[in-house]
Assembly symmetry: C2
Homo-oligomer: 181 residues x 2
């Protein structure tokens, strides 16, 4: 098993270990500067053969968020808010015919989650949006907001000032690291 | 377009923006403590529904690395070293029947790359290994080193002390962020 991290703690490692997925947000919007910093960090992720296959669609307009909410709720037959009231959505898509679109997009999202956490901003990976974009409603939405043709959904990153109690860390699965002799 | 990041720089953002993919390494091995810190950071990535579908196989044994090198070279019909002489390989696989194995594994790898960078350790995502694991040679290797059945290759992360000149940042693609009105 992996030993406890004791002596090599630094701001980067600490931020990785302390990042949590937030599912409750304040109403007020994050600042443009915070958003730009987070997006920049996403754009500086590595990507397969440097293809940078990602595309980010930033949605802060409440009407557009409501449309996405309604679309995902209809798809999943639920009235739960899939975006947990977050004021900013970053819909991450990636060019389907690149080498590793899902992986490129995921690396960008992790950078954004970590940058957000370092700025005191909560985030969560919302998986249902990738599936929504494969539905007729989702395709219509994609066209309306200018998601380029030939791009597939990776995920939706929600961002906002976190609200309520800090989530406890979830236990780590066991047996996930094997040291080859 | 995304504006320049000026005022919100912190250690985490700086580390994200300054991480580079390294393709030249010193011979000497990284320390166990550095390795453990990096692996821990991988294990603390988020994952779809907290399934933590990843599995890391750490390979430092030179004979095993030589076997993997030979296997990948044969597959790609080349004599180029796919692992750039790195002394540590972390083969990341993920449980195929989970919600998002490729995405979970990618998030873990990005955490490890960023943690490595913060510790002065170079890293690079080596894509060919995922494909190698689908070949007969790859399957035999997976069984030999104990990669669990039912797991798919995500990628191979190489780690080591970087050597030579720090790679210049690659230009970012344009038109990758759209702010919805």
């Amino acid at each position: 098993m992996v030993k406890e991290v004791r002596n090599l703690m630094n701001e980067v490692v600490k931020n990785i270990l302390e990042r949590r997925s937030w599912r409750s947000y304040e109403d007020r919007q994050i600042s443009d500067q915070e958003l730009d910093t987070i997006l920049q960090c996403g754009l500086w992720a590595p990507s397969a053969m440097n293809q940078q296959s990602w595309h980010f669609t930033v949605v802060q307009n409440k009407e557009r968020i409501a449309e996405l909410t309604k679309g995902c709720q209809k798809m999943m037959d639920t009235d739960r808010d899939p975006f947990y009231g977050a004021p900013t959505l970053v819909v991450v898509t990636a060019k389907a015919d690149c080498i590793a679109p899902q992986q490129d997009g995921s690396l960008a999202i992790e950078n954004m989650m970590l940058a957000a956490s370092s700025l005191g901003i909560g985030s969560c990976w919302i998986n249902c949006l990738a599936r929504f974009l494969t539905t007729e409603d989702g395709k219509a939405f994609a066209e309306k907001v200018g998601i380029p043709a030939g791009y597939v959904g990776v995920s939706c990153l929600i961002l906002g000032y976190p609200q309520g109690e800090r989530p406890e860390p979830k236990e780590r699965a066991q047996g996930t690291v094997n040291f080859v002799k």
